[in-house]
Structures are given as structure tokens and as C-alpha cells.
Amino acid sequence: MSLQLAPDGRLKHLLTIDGLPRKLIEDLLDATDSLRSVALRGNKKLPLLRGRTIINLFFEASTRTRTTFELAAERLSADVVNLDVASSSTSKGESLLDTLATLEAMHCDMFVVRHPDSGAAHFIAEHVAPGVAVLNAGDGRHAHPTQALLDAYTIRRHKQRFEDLTIAVVGDVLHSRVARSELRAFGILGAGELRVIGPRTLLPPSIEELGVRVYTDMDAGVADADVIIMLRLQRERMRGVFLPSESEYFRRYGLTAERLALAKPDCIVMHPGPMNRGIEIASEVADGPQSVILEQVSNGLAVRMAVMSHILGAQVPQMEASA
């Protein structure tokens, strides 16, 4: 029995990409298409979630992700409450379940949760009151499903069939919830070839079993790629046991214009942000013509609107997809 899928096939929660049917993902991407014009217009709200209350429950600091969730809810006319739990009750010793119970007493409809523990979103979904939805905005190293959906959506806008694509994910896959969710999503969407590129210290040992090809050599890994996704390298990984230094990492795995030239000429470059320029990606690539990094951010808004509408049962109207 799936915790996140209702018997009718709709999402009760979105906790992970794992186990989602391809059709459901495609429906969400289609709804994203419809909502994208609204998201980009910015001055017009849709009344889809009027009267609903969404609580952003962030146990881990985040500005960008929380802002896009907040904006997405507001564009759908929901009431939004932001709670940085990292700095409030749990630091006073309150348990996660107590925090949840307190917030449920406010009769909210959805928790958007970010938490440093892998599996935290599952845990919360198991314990919330019936009828309250949980949307995982990143749990530990486990999953970040809306990021994967927005990346899939961004790829779909630029490329046609996933079956024809070679997609390379570069960097700290070991600690990355983004990578885990993306590899799942692209796999379900039928991607032709999935590659992960990085030093062995930053790749989970059994990663090959996920159906990906492993490259420890960046040049070989990006060769003829259609999509290159650079992962953020957390500062604390750069020195010490995972990597010798930032500069060595950039020399071996940084995406430079020379390396990008090894990929297909129309290869797009993505990054979930925030970027470390000069460490995982050269500025000339980040700001170059093949980069779709800023578009990812605006697509993130539309994807989150689509997911929120879907989970809370609002019918997304068919709209003219903007160019």
C-alpha cells in the first residue's frame, strides 16, 4: 500500500518520486504547462485553493525553495503560514509530533516540509491527521520530488522524447536528495541513458543498481550528453575526507566551456541552485547560452502550483501554454 497514492491514483501526499506512475508524472507536467503562464504573469491569481491553508514547515534553513512554495500557494489564493522550526520550538526541545499536533489544531490542509532527516516526510505523513496533505520539500539525502519534477519539466520544454536523451548528473550524488529524485523521475520517464559523474567518495557504492552508468572521469561522462545537471557541492564536503580541495574538484569535475563542448551542441546545462561559481561550474557556462538555470527557478513555481492543486483536489484549467 502506498502512503502517497490514494486508491483512485491521485496523490494524497508527495513524498518521493519513487513508485509514481509515468502517467501521473506526465499529468503533473501537463498541468505545469497550463499554470506556467499564470506563474509568469505574476499579477493574476487563480482561485483554485481559496480558503485552504498551507503551512511551510521548514526544519532546515532555506530561502529559495521556501519562497517558491510560498509564492506558488499565494498564486493559487491559499493562505500561507511560514514556520522556520529550525529556529523555534524544536530547539526548545519540543518533539516533531508535538509540533505537528499544535499546527494541526490550526486546521491546515497541507504541510510543505523540509527536514534534515531522510524519511522525515514519510514520518510526518504517517502521523498527520487524516485529510492533511504532506508535500516533501526535501528530507535529508532522501528526496526532493518537486525539484525533480521541475527539472523534468524544464528538460521536456527543451527536448522532445526522454527516450532519446543522455542525461548526466555531476557531483555530490551521495549527499544529494535532488539527484536521487531526479534519477528516479528520469528513469520513470524513460530516459535513454542516465549517467552520474563524480569521485567515488561522492557516489553511493550501489548506485549502479539504480540503472545508471557511473563515470569518475568528467570528460568521458559528459561526452555526447543532451543534458548536464550540476549538483551543488556543500562547503563542508570540500575539504577533508571527501575531497582534497575546491580547486582540485573544479579541475576534475567543474563544468567549463571546454568540457561542455564535449557534449552535444544543443546540450542544456542545469543546476538546482544555489551555485558555487568557480567550484562546480564556470561562470561563463552558468551564464552562457546553453544554461537554463534561471528558467528552472521560474518553472519551479509552476510545478509547485501544479502539485499543490493536484494534491488538494483542485482542477487545473487548460490554459494556453506560454511560449
Binding site: D18, S118, F123, R180, S206, L210
Partner: protein, 426 residues
């Protein structure tokens, strides 16, 4: 209750070559004899043993009693009683209490509380080092004098190989047995699950098998060099079984145990983020589990233990990585053991060997006898009865078990050790 006659039970004491229906007459503290005459049994309370097995009391090599230090999870009285009611007549408390068992005061406290209770006999493993830390040897001689049955590092890594070597030399000079849990302090530190497919998928910090195998290899070298009597606790992977088999084949006199959950479960059982299956050592691969089973049946692994770690509900009501590791074990130790027999992984004799007799040899305890004057140390059980393991059937204060809801064979109707006797009310 003075004298008790268990009538018509199938007495299964493989070490005495007894496997037949018999009557057993005893009183608390003393066995009065096998198949007593009518005159001798006159006036005794009669317990119907027909259809039941009388077996040596089980011995659990790792039972956290949670006292001192965590009495909100359980205490000596509650957990030693829970053990006895499940047919376990001896429990061994590892030294990782709070404070750790590194002083005679802590040993004396535990043994006094245990004597006040009515449960299984409690044995204590003293800490090998002060605070189970990396700085200095604990007063091993004093710990033994205070009643410790062995010393060890259970649950804590000793990274300082020089300290460990000195500790083993010192223990050897006292002829004090050492229980070692092979753990590397750095590899896999902070991990919460076996470093493998499931951890990779779920984004759980991994504990590679080298955490164990590296330390096991080192520890075996030091054991060989120092000549200390050593027991290796809680092996979790196939490679460890192979390393141990090699050492034994070389003639090294070492023993080892495995925790019951690692014999049944594997890394997939943590899905989806089941905090009840957050264990230390972690559940590893199917191949590892199979090798542990094979090691048990071949005898490379000498003993099974419950690795009892009762928790309060809140300790597990957390996201997987934050939940405290460990499972409550005494309530399922007998049932899971019988299930191994039912699944033909072990014979009845080898089950009793792994769960009752080998642990006694490891601890230096005598095997239970049935001749007049012997100390009673046995359990009467209905092997055909079964029950569902849940909060209503568990006796331990800790209800945290990955086997929750399992249907398990076996029901203990009577257990006795020394002057303690428990009989199920019918």
C-alpha cells in the same frame, strides 16, 4: 509453593542425552529428581507437562536492562522478569549503561537490584576501558571481584589499538574473558543503515561492512597475540563469518554470537523508513543474512542472542535517522528460535545449543542438571502454541520490535532458575 512435580513433559536436555517423556520433581532452589517414586512426589503441586517440552533455560548474551541511566525505558526488575517469563533464565548486561559499568559501585548496584527482583539471573559485563573511552583501562581486577562475569567494549568502538592491546594483555593476565564488538570508530560513523542498495536509494547514511570486518581482523590479531579468552559479539555480515571461520580453523579459541534480528531480516526491512528496524549493527544484505544463518547451523557462530534494547515509545517516534537504534528482544527470542527449528534451519538440539548451552560455556556457567540437588534452571514450554507478538503479549517495557505483529510459535508455561520460579496462571 514448595515442591512441584511436572508430569509427563518431553524433557529435552541434549547435553545430558535426555530426550524422553519424564516427570521432574523440584522445589525452588533444588532439583529433587527425575521420575520420582509416588512416595517422593506425594504432596507436591502437580503441573501437567503433557505435550510440553522441558528445556534448559535459555541464556541471552545481550540484554539491556536500562538501569542505571534509562529507567524510563525499562529497569532491572521489569526486564529481568520479562526475560524469565520468556524462558530466559540468565541475562547478560552489556557495560554501556549510564554511567557505564566501569566501577565496582555500578556493578554492586546492578547485582543488588537484580537479587531484589524475581526475574532471570543477571550477569554483568564490565567496561574494558574507563567510560568505554579511549584513554585508560578500567579497574578490571576490581570489576571481576565485584562480580563481573567478563569485560568488554560492547556497543563502543575502541579506535586506539594500543589501548586495546594493553587491555587484552591485562585481561589475559587476569584470565578474564573479553567480549568484543568489532567496530571501527571512523568508518561508517554517523551511519544509520547498511551501506548498500537500500541506503543508497533512501539517502540513509551508510555503515559499510568494513566497519566490522576491519576491526574484527585487528581484534583477532590482538587476541591471538595476547592469548586472551575472547568472544565476538553481534556479527552482522558474511565476510565476518568467513574471517571467524578462518581464525577458528587456525586453532584460535574464540567464540561469536549473532543477534536474532540479523538472522531473519535484511536491509530491505527498513523500508519504508521503519524506525523499528533501525538496528545496530544494521540489517545487511540478503546474502549476509544467509551467511549468518549458515554460520549458525555450521557452528562457526556459536550463539544467538536477543540483543534486547527496550525503548520508550518516543525514542522510536522520530524520523528514521533520529530514532534510537535497537529492538526489544526478550519477548521474541524463544519464538524466533523455535521458528528457525520450524523452518529447518536448526534442529531442536542445535537451537538449544545456540540459545542455551553454548552461551553458558561462553560465560563459564555450568550446564543445567537434573539430578537430585542440582540447581533448577529450566523452562516448560508448549512449542505448538502460538501467539501474535504485540503490545498485549509482550512483557518487556519496550514494545519496539521489527517483528511486531508476527505470529510466533511457543508459549512458556513455567520457568525457574535457582530459587526463582514463575508459573503461568491457567
Amino acid at each position: 509453593m514448595s515442591r512441584v512435580l511436572i508430569r509427563g513433559a518431553l524433557v529435552r536436555f541434549p547435553h545430558l542425552s535426555i530426550d524422553r517423556v519424564a516427570d521432574v520433581l523440584f522445589e525452588p532452589g533444588r532439583v529433587l529428581g527425575l521420575d520420582p517414586g509416588p512416595a517422593q512426589a506425594r504432596g507436591a503441586e502437580i503441573i501437567d507437562g503433557r505435550g510440553r517440552w522441558l528445556i534448559p533455560g535459555l541464556v541471552d548474551l545481550a540484554t539491556r536492562l536500562r538501569e542505571p541511566g534509562a529507567t524510563h525505558k525499562g529497569d532491572i526488575r521489569s526486564e529481568a522478569t520479562a526475560a524469565l517469563l520468556n524462558g530466559i533464565t540468565h541475562v547478560v548486561l552489556p557495560p554501556d549503561t549510564r554511567p557505564v559499568v566501569d566501577s565496582t559501585a555500578v556493578v554492586e548496584l546492578i547485582l543488588r537490584r537484580a537479587r531484589e527482583g524475581r526475574g532471570a539471573t543477571v550477569h554483568v559485563i564490565g567496561a574494558l576501558t574507563c567510560g568505554l573511552g579511549e584513554d585508560s583501562l578500567a579497574e578490571l581486577g576490581a570489576l571481576r571481584a565485584a562480580g563481573c562475569i567478563a569485560v568488554g567494549n560492547i556497543g563502543r568502538a575502541i579506535g586506539n589499538s594500543n589501548l586495546l592491546r594493553r587491555a587484552l594483555q591485562y585481561a589475559a593476565s587476569l584470565d578474564l574473558p573479553v567480549h568484543l564488538q568489532a567496530l571501527d570508530p571512523w568508518i561508517g560513523a554517523g551511519g544509520v543503515a547498511h551501506e548498500g542498495r537500500v541506503a543508497a536509494l533512501q539517502g540513509l547514511a551508510g555503515i559499510p561492512e568494513t566497519t566490522e570486518t576491519l576491526a574484527l581482523t585487528r581484534d583477532l590479531m590482538l587476541v591471538e597475540e595476547t592469548g586472551v579468552r575472547a568472544h565476538f559479539a553481534r556479527l552482522s555480515c558474511a565476510r565476518s563469518v568467513a574471517i571467524l571461520a578462518d581464525a577458528k580453523a587456525r586453532g584460535l579459541k574464540v567464540t561469536a554470537d549473532v543477534a536474532m534480528p540479523n538472522v531473519y531480516l535484511n536491509e530491505h526491512d527498513v523500508l519504508p523508513f521503519r524506525s523499528a528496524a533501525h538496528l545496530m549493527p544494521p540489517l545487511r544484505t540478503v546474502a549476509d543474512r544467509d551467511a549468518l544463518q549458515a554460520g549458525l547451523s555450521s557452528g562457526v557462530i556459536d550463539a544467538l542472542c536477543s540483543d534486547h534494547q527496550p525503548h520508550d515509545a518516543d525514542a522510536k517516534l522520530k524520523p528514521f535517522p533520529s530514532a534510537e537504534p535497537g529492538a526489544s528482544g526478550v519477548d521474541s527470542f524463544l519464538g524466533l528460535g523455535l521458528k528457525l527449528v520450524g523452518e529447518r534451519l536448526l534442529s531442536v538440539e542445535s537451537w538449544l545449543e545456540r540459545c542455551a548451552l553454548a552461551p553458558r560455556r561462553i560465560l563459564g556457567l555450568p550446564a543445567p542438571q537434573l539430578e537430585p540437588g542440582a540447581v533448577p534452571d529450566f523452562a516448560l514450554l508448549d512449542a505448538a502454541a502460538d501467539r501474535t507478538l504485540d503490545a498485549s503479549t509482550m512483557v518487556s517495557r519496550g514494545k519496539n520490535t521489527p517483528f511486531y505483529g508476527w505470529r510466533l510459535p511457543g508459549r512458556v508455561d513455567l520457568a525457574t532458575v535457582a530459587d526463582r520460579l514463575w508459573v503461568r496462571e491457567s
